[in-house]
Symmetry: C2
Subunit: 221 residues, 2 copies
Amino acid sequence: MTVETAPNESANRERIEQRILNAAEQIFSLHGYRGASLQAIADKAELPKANILYYMGSKQALYVRLLNRMMRRWNAVLENITPESDPGEVLSDFIRTKIVLGQRYPDGSKLFAAEILAGAPFLDEYLAGELRDWVTSRAAIIRQWSLQGKMDDVDPRWLIFLIWSATQHYTEYSAQITRVLGRDALNEEDLASITQFLEHVILKGCGISPLASSQASSAAN
Amino acid sequence: MTVETAPNESANRERIEQRILNAAEQIFSLHGYRGASLQAIADKAELPKANILYYMGSKQALYVRLLNRMMRRWNAVLENITPESDPGEVLSDFIRTKIVLGQRYPDGSKLFAAEILAGAPFLDEYLAGELRDWVTSRAAIIRQWSLQGKMDDVDPRWLIFLIWSATQHYTEYSAQITRVLGRDALNEEDLASITQFLEHVILKGCGISPLASSQASSAAN
DNA sequence: AACCATATTGACCGATCGGTCAGAACAATC
DNA sequence: GATTGTTCTGACCGATCGGTCAATATGGTT
């Protein structure tokens, strides 16, 4: 085969790489970039250490790949938001989506948190580029909602940060929360309760009138 | 002198220990327990590595001492809260105090965050003991406020977690926030704006009527 | 000056770090 | 069955890890 980086270069390789990535995500999320060791990742993946380097090249390349994978997972959030959208619907959806993402990718979320704590040395471009643009454009639309009288005149950037922090907290601080609550983990009921609480407080706090639609539990996408 | 662990055992020793503690707090906050090296701490403190161990005994002892120091700093928060208190006043004070604490001790706050991310191996007792009691007792009072009709019937534990997350975010995610905003750091004006925003959204979101006193500029309601 | 507790530090220890490499094992093609 | 390219891995490398220790320096008491 003359193929080089074909998308389907051996399904076996793909499986192994995913195994390594998942193991590495877990170790990096616990101990950060410096604190994680390739040996620990290899043990978790049940592979010799040399295999990790064979497939990933270097510790840094592996780490960066994980960061990129996690960034991609966040792409869908708040995709279709317009000045004509209903603020209550959009913000509710924002909150729910972020909670779900945190639950779906707890290790990736913690990995990101650790990277930010470390001063975000590998995320500089992303934060000051892609993410800043994301925030700026969404903030502009929220600002318009305020001008249209759909909600209070709050700083949209602080609102975005509030939703980020409030939702991420339950993933990244899970160790604290479970111990304080005296539980092993948060169950579905807890998460539904938390989501509802956050929607209630944040929407009401922004002066967004109780929405007419989107009252049901959950359905399609 | 027959003194052993006198409070004033050489002011010089005290000064050196503080220098080490501050240097260590910075390094640990960036890289977590495993990721931090004694050599890096020694360099930051401008002391030989052997001195760090002479004064602190071991890496773990140094780390635990830092955790305890940070826990002590949080003791004053929400100290005097009673069922008769005004929710608006108490929660406003809570928010402001936490924001100020984060600004005063950014490294300590990040250190704590890293410890939680790592699964809180050294904080198990504290979280499941002292802190759980703290949350339980405060939650009980907030619950009473709800029953008295002073505020909406929200789960007090989620409310406490919300305030924790929202306030801590600006300290622990400072790297992300400054880059997204395109700034070097948050200034006094930003912090005042953020504090006011959080008070507005959280109090209003919990159905706490605008308090008579402590009213500033602001606008929409 | 003699004494002693404390402070200071370079040199060193075994273990582990990220990374390299030669060669064995394997699979597909001719 | 020989050839070829990929996968796999034990052994090894220099650097750094947390920690120990002996030797020296320092400062107060007598």
